[in-house]
Subunit: 135 residues, 4 copies
């Protein structure tokens, strides 16, 4: 079981774990400081939750992964006090890139979806590439 | 001059203002609690900064705007202590939707780009909604 | 069973059908005129295939749906002669918007993913629009 | 002046040119076979036009560039007979990735926007990386 706790997720009260390579989940209770002016979950908070599961899943292999592009769709509001959970699944794992899909739920209710593409920094780009030079 | 201060942006130390309809900017100093494990700006923090400028620009007209879909591209790291600024411009303003483009800079350096689509809740929609309240 | 045949899909040799509301599939054989300079499926062709399944799924309810924003990730090349298929699933159906996810496969191989958001033109909107016809 | 003519763009009647590295434009007349059932430009055709300018701009340097992720926003319909033009600008050019923004216009009217991220296949990944190993 791997987790990811950095200063920003700590500030936001987001916890996370990866039980298997390519997967991860992140969760948090929606507290007053996570809300926007309408009294519902701030879009930036929902993104941070999804992004945490994304980063943990993408870095669950032995290759550092850096986010290139992400997108998010907002489907329903997150209500104060709600227990939110983001689950990440690996859609594609290539040599240099990876694609992950994250769903953010409040109980059974899907409230946002997230897709993220990473660049994978292969430690041994040189020898590996030579070995695949026929490609 | 309009600003947007909600609990979440307050937690993150993000300030913002809109000097003209359809535009906005948001700014913050990159503090230790905004960093990820690599010691650079957390992707979720950069998103929150862009999202704040986006929300303020989209709501600078007399029609409430709700985020539908956003995407972000990460171009360069945000360094600790940096003064970050997100500026939002209106690409399109239709009756029911609007499109905004946000650039996040650290000084002159472009470090992330963001695009957001909103649904605009036209005031007259309410009567329509009432008429369909059985749905 | 509903299908969607318009001049553009006809030009591209794309066929499609929707067996149930919210779902659709589109398929085509990858012919020489669908290729790019590298001799593999043109990104625009893969998009057109996904977009066809998207449009058919989104319009499978009794409400006209118009594409607002889409995005596509390219995962693997489409080889000449391949039988390609795009399958669309409905992730979210709201009053004014809908979200669809499309996968493009060559046999069992996932070669591209697509996500699309639509604006749904509710029939009752017309009266609202009439009331605002001065705009 | 560089151009890009492949079987797919030829089928669609799309022409293109790149006058300077990192930039490109593509253009076409909207003909009957480019339309959808509503009698306006098919979303897939507008995408193909934008994608052509994107690919040409991204490959205007001496490094092969492969599309990773793209997204498109549809703002206004393309009318039959219209002269459409897509112009591509380079937002970011890194060692391994590049970001491009494309606008599709019908005369002065902005009808769609497109953003694309490429992976750049550095021919000399090995030696270059070694030379930069202090990074």
């Amino acid at each position: 079981m791997v987790t990811l706790e950095d200063p920003f997720t700590k500030l936001l009260g987001i916890r996370s774990e990866s039980a298997a390579p390519g997967t991860a989940r992140a969760w948090a209770t929606l507290r007053p400081e996570h809300l926007n002016l309408h009294g519902i979950a701030h879009g930036g908070f929902l993104y941070a939750l999804a992004d945490t599961a994304f980063a943990l899943a993408a870095n669950s292999h032995d290759v550092p992964a850096v986010a290139l592009a992400t997108h998010m769709e907002y489907l329903a509001p997150g209500q104060p006090g709600a227990e939110l959970e983001a689950t990440a699944a690996e859609v594609h794992l290539g040599r240099s890139t990876g694609l992950y899909r994250i769903e953010v739920r409040s109980g059974a209710n899907l409230i946002a979806t997230f897709t993220g593409t990473v660049f994978r920094k292969q430690p041994k780009d040189e020898s590996t590439k030579d070995a695949k030079s026929t490609k």
